[in-house]
Symmetry: C2
Subunit: 505 residues, 2 copies
Amino acid sequence: MLNRVRSAVAHLVSSGGAPPPRPKSPDQPNATSAVPAAPSEAPKSPPAKAGGGSVAPAKTAEARASFSRPTFLQLSPGGLRRADDHAGRAVQSPPDTGRRLPWSTGYAEVINAGKSRHNEDQACCEVVYVEGRRSVTGAPKEPSPGQGLRFYYWGLFDGHAGGGAAEMASRLLHRHIREQLKDLVEILQDPSPPPLCLPSTPGTPGSSDPSHLVAPQSCWSSQKEVTHESLVVGAIENAFQLMDEQMARERRGHQVEGGCCALVVVYLLGKVYVANAGDSRAIIVRNGEIIPMSQEFTPETERQRLQLLGFLKPELLGGEFTHLEFPRRVQPKELGQRMLYRDQNMTGWAYKKIELEDLRFPLVCGEGKKARVMATIGVTRGLGDHNLKVCSSSLPIKPFLSCFPEVRVYDLTQYEHCPDDVLVLGTDGLWDVTSDCEVAATVDRVLSTYEPNDPSRYTALAQALVLGARGTPRDRGWRLPNNKLGSGDDISVFIIPLGGPGSYS
Amino acid sequence: MLNRVRSAVAHLVSSGGAPPPRPKSPDQPNATSAVPAAPSEAPKSPPAKAGGGSVAPAKTAEARASFSRPTFLQLSPGGLRRADDHAGRAVQSPPDTGRRLPWSTGYAEVINAGKSRHNEDQACCEVVYVEGRRSVTGAPKEPSPGQGLRFYYWGLFDGHAGGGAAEMASRLLHRHIREQLKDLVEILQDPSPPPLCLPSTPGTPGSSDPSHLVAPQSCWSSQKEVTHESLVVGAIENAFQLMDEQMARERRGHQVEGGCCALVVVYLLGKVYVANAGDSRAIIVRNGEIIPMSQEFTPETERQRLQLLGFLKPELLGGEFTHLEFPRRVQPKELGQRMLYRDQNMTGWAYKKIELEDLRFPLVCGEGKKARVMATIGVTRGLGDHNLKVCSSSLPIKPFLSCFPEVRVYDLTQYEHCPDDVLVLGTDGLWDVTSDCEVAATVDRVLSTYEPNDPSRYTALAQALVLGARGTPRDRGWRLPNNKLGSGDDISVFIIPLGGPGSYS
């Protein structure tokens, strides 16, 4: 997320030192009542280094020790050092030997060109088993593995202002999703429509009687039908919120610094759920056709939401900002002149007479990768950022950021997929320099050079995409074949085959 | 807007009598500083009669006298009576003799089957000349007709809870648009990008010096480029707001009762602007292909905006409503049980434990045509409704309703249109019983029976669409050929030819 949180990082790192030591929480994979707290090894981000240059900053042994990469990369200490090297920017993938990722998923990543000390992207790929918490009918129920649910899970987390939030989300978000799904294990496997109302206390006498389920008749003339699919969407949405709340609770003492975008895929019962909060992107490439599976959430795409919040809650602007947008900064000498503006209701522009309060800094300003909320942050959704303040101010930015993802659903059973049909997930390091069409062309080019049943083809594709976005060192920078600058940002890519050798039956 | 404002109407009409007489404002077609106020003949809506039946309510001579239809229909007193007859429901169009509508536009309408005393739809079709108010460079300027702008204008206004708002909007909204465009006459005709800042006082000494225009350089590193198109969009958006504010000012003494959806088309300098606030709809049918030019704004499509407002401003809910949505009404005996819900951030559903405040009535409830805000109104954007209160309560609904349209732009110059390519505008009376595809099929069927250069073909098409949605009286109701109920609502349709005999050069 190059250039996006420069000033925020500068502010944050100037306000605190290294995190105090804290007892490590035990990992609790089977905990049912709560998701484990963050361990102490969350790294502290050093001052950011802006720009896409090739010079690697000096690293201390201490910093290196707190650096972590996804466990599925199975990095040796030497491998970890190479993955952390800004000068070489070696592309990392899971080893060809050893256990493959589920579904023969391909993965590749590369560290940034020096904008932050470590790679602030994190990734997770898991098969998660969900044990039902209770019977729908309220009957007490013994854990019964055969009746649980399994979901496949992929997550990309693009950190900013430190790596802590991304690291925590990569360890815990899927467990929050599992927690949310526990109530739904029976309901999702029952073909009848979900019950609108459930009894309050499982296991109370008589509650196994299905008549305890409230009948559909009611004081309304009608009732909405709720689909199984929308329950999974709701579970993922609430999991994001609970993950964010956990970060808020544990942020004190800088246990969780910074924030992160989150792009998550859940495969459950024949459907692919793509949840996105931030500026990562997912597309499906199917028979050469591109199907967008996410949208980016930035100050530009969310301008009206941000302006509406500033308008309805002016106290959040602290007298320092105006909720109006102007095409450039208004200058004091322009008082009384008329300038173009947009408010929360407008998509077009109109002229207004400049008044004193229009001289305040605009809540939303800038364009493209330089667009900012409160002159500080360039993404508007994600997890964390609870400590984030406006530069040189105590004004919190978090109220304007949303932790809620947009969730899109793709039904895998509605189409006969071939081995070349893939879901591509990438952080903005990929998409800043690569169009959807270029990705589709690379998918075609790389996969056609491998046998359809060669499981290594998806990793090769992920590597090709990361290499293509990174470029090669030349003329004092990382450059693409067309001599434009490659991405100096962290780049991470998942390739999920939709009909390939990975079996998802 | 059948069934949508039943209770609202019942409440409103029970709260007041006939409007007090008020001096008629002179029409001011050339006024430059303000849009004329509403005249006194705004009709007062009688109690609504629900359902799509065929029985016409009794009418008094008084009520008939205050009834108005678009002037371009050129209705005689006898014609006006026939247009106002719920039993016959004769389809009305401009006469074949006499002056045609601009662009050979086709139009047809029919009154409802008895749900309100008069037809609460209104329509307007005008060519509007905009005289520049000032020079961009600030130089004093004599009115110079040659340098003005001409725009073509079509408007459909679907009234509810009375006909006053729709009638007022049909007379005045295009004048508000003209006022907004006056500042832009020179700018829109200058191919260079619009100036971001204008001098404050036209005609002051020295202000003809172009150096008074603020140069693009500034304290920001960049500035947004604003297009001519977005200025027109902004002008239309602000015109809607000013129209709504005028209704608010003049609502006292019941000068303007009720509210209305507004669907407006502006053709200016090669582009078609379609602005929609409410549940009317516009589609282009081009070479058989359907291009949607609007979306509907209803409690369902705007659920999250409404819930967010209720969440951020709970005082607007008056302790009577909850911003949460439930799939059906929660019953007191269900306290402590868990029910499905959605909040302002969710698109999916999840279970929550029912608490006391969840027993309040939901801000948004119901489905499809029965969806309601605060149990009262079924559309969420439009003009007027400043007197609208929640049934049996003093809680105002207006803060939840938005007067801002969504504006879509279609560039007429980007495609060679044939005489069968049309823009279809219809109130919900058409779309409730007719799909986009059925409309496209009717376009093909009707236009192919006329010579391409026969200007009456578009009126014939509008009539066919209205007749097809109305049906014929049979089995105690208006029925379609498939024996389903036709629309008992007011139905109004414009057909705007995009490449037909109407010249728009």
